[in-house]
Assembly symmetry: C3
Homo-oligomer: 265 residues x 3
């Protein structure tokens, strides 16, 4: 199985699929190709929220604002999963999530690649062939891939040779308030913060202030009328600022990166 | 085979796919994930217009404005097809279409589910595991699924214990006029009404008034100039109000639910 | 393997997939379904830039402004590939590219089809069944498909019985200037011209004027600051007018079909 994630829109992902399918008959599964453009943090977030649900697979992830520069390429292996991506941090949060759930280690392999056909589409010319090669040789045998390029094992926490990481900021939570930020706005317009869902424990049925705007704390969208603001624990385990049948980000005036302060109303 | 339909946009459907693929190696086919948000009637329409074209399959359909409330979950079985969906009517029109084409019966199974991980993403936590389980046990053996939850067979027309249904309004058609409404506006901007296509029999080459706006009655879009309004029988068998290379809904000022009166011009 | 390309948006492609999957268990791969509406030249361009990357396959391509008129249907065979499409030229550029890379010939088969169920959705009622039939009989045996319809082999260059072709205009290039046009604007907003990338040979690090607007000639997007204009060789081998992390078409004021004149600044 080989999953594909990018910010390429359409139809560039198809070229990647063709390249992959010339080299392997892996089952292909699209994760998303409309991730926010060149936004490594958002892509890392969505990979963390989707890839761990999959059975062991090779995951091709290309959100790559540094395409054509001298940034490296990495294979991040965790259990039976291998994430093939640019060395910009996009792979690490998903890998750490998988590692934590199975209590296993994350291994990073940085590799060089021959000068590709294009300097603007490494998804097609660098990462797709690499992902196909990993799928063909098997995730357990990534080390044997010197046919592609010299692979170097790099500890993710090795300061000297470390691969690039992406860490989400942590919210500050006290008994009565939480300060965090919006990590992403999803397709529904829900503003997903980094405040742990546990902050809402015992508050269901009450009201919270979000940067001064009051909203009901509920379990289900339909617990408030259509068009009404609400605060709930989203499917990622974080506090979300939403609107039933509407766009929470608009109603609360929130965008990715914005500060969010939740206080008792 | 397992098809997926939702209003989730991207990348939430990927989490559903991961959940399914951990439990079964069914071939996955996306129907659509950009259906109008929380619009059960539109989803029911599009399921009716797509699912019957498939060979026997499990169909996971999640357009679910009541997510997290106490609405039930259903498996609707018709021939070798099983539609796994919230109990909000979204599955019934497609099932009735399949039943009518093969002259077979529709069976509904309502089931309870354990409290899921999230109250906002039952697609991932309730319906995807259920669809995978139905695929694994086989559509013919849905009754044996008490491992998941107690299944209760409910006749769709049993007023007492009936599952929720969704019925499209019927147009009123006389010899010289038809009164109906817009069921959906498709991606091309075509305003698809509930007026049967047979209303246009013998009118090709003529003109009709749509709420007072005249339009040619034609067989093909290209029968009028680019930008010109037209009325034709769409691929669903209903009268559509379209524009060649344009958006009929805009040109006629029509939105889903709007009344449409077709009269001789 | 059977790929699908259209301008149908969603969810009409699903009906085509159902029709195909009732007739064959071919692996399905989506190329794109959001191509510019009714734009045969753009579709021909994107088919040329994606289909040749695939292993031998049947390619169902339906961008079809003449749907319901008397335009013909074609199967274009090149090596192990067969493109099933309306006879409007959409298939030829991809076929020629595949032929050129493998030094093989392009063969065209025009066929008639029985009057289909709808006059507006030949993707579902004409081309999907034809593509499935080609897949089932095998690309090498297209001639045997008189079960579907009488097939007629037509040389693409035979003026008398020629199938419809689509040829991209060629740019005029001199030592110091190039005059061409924008072929397409991609999802990133990059304005892709027909000026061969070789025009930028030796100019990297310099500046060019695009219709009077200056821009750096670079190798990678990130070679200029975010928001800055640039000119580079795109992944298709043509000169692109782009903006790092922005939309080049907007910044340069370019749309498909616009004239582009590149001169030394």
């Amino acid at each position: 199985m080989l999953t594909l994630t990018s910010d390429f829109g359409s139809p560039y992902p198809a070229a990647m699929k063709g390249v992959v399918l010339r080299r392997t008959d892996a089952r292909l599964v699209d994760i998303a190709h409309d991730l926010p453009r060149q936004d490594v943090r958002a892509a890392a977030f969505w990979c963390r929220e989707t890839l761990p649900y999959f059975p062991p697979a090779v995951h091709l992830v290309v959100v790559d604002p540094g395409v054509g520069t001298d940034r490296d390429a990495v294979v991040v292996r965790v259990g039976g999963h291998a994430i093939v991506a640019p060395d910009n941090g996009v792979a690490l949060p998903a890998a750490r999530r998988i590692a934590a759930e199975a209590d296993i280690a994350v291994e990073c392999f940085r590799y060089e690649y021959a000068d590709p056909a294009s300097s603007t589409f490494h998804g097609r010319d660098v990462f797709a062939p690499a992902a196909a090669a990993v799928h063909e040789v098997g995730v357990d045998a990534v080390e044997s891939l010197d046919a592609i390029a010299p692979l170097e094992s790099v500890a993710p926490d090795d300061a000297a040779g470390a691969v690039v990481d992406c860490r989400f900021p942590e919210a500050e939570v006290t008994a009565g308030a939480a300060s965090g930020e919006v990590l992403v706005v999803d397709d529904f317009g829900n503003a997903i913060t980094n405040v742990p869902g546990s902050f809402l424990d015992g508050r269901e049925g009450g009201t919270l202030s979000v940067n001064g705007t009051e909203a009901a704390v509920v379990r289900a969208f339909a617990d408030v009328d259509a068009g009404e603001r609400l605060v709930t624990v989203g499917s990622h385990g974080f506090v979300e600022c939403d609107v039933n049948r509407g766009r929470g980000a608009d109603a609360f005036g929130l965008a990715p990166g914005d500060e969010v302060r939740l206080t008792e109303a």
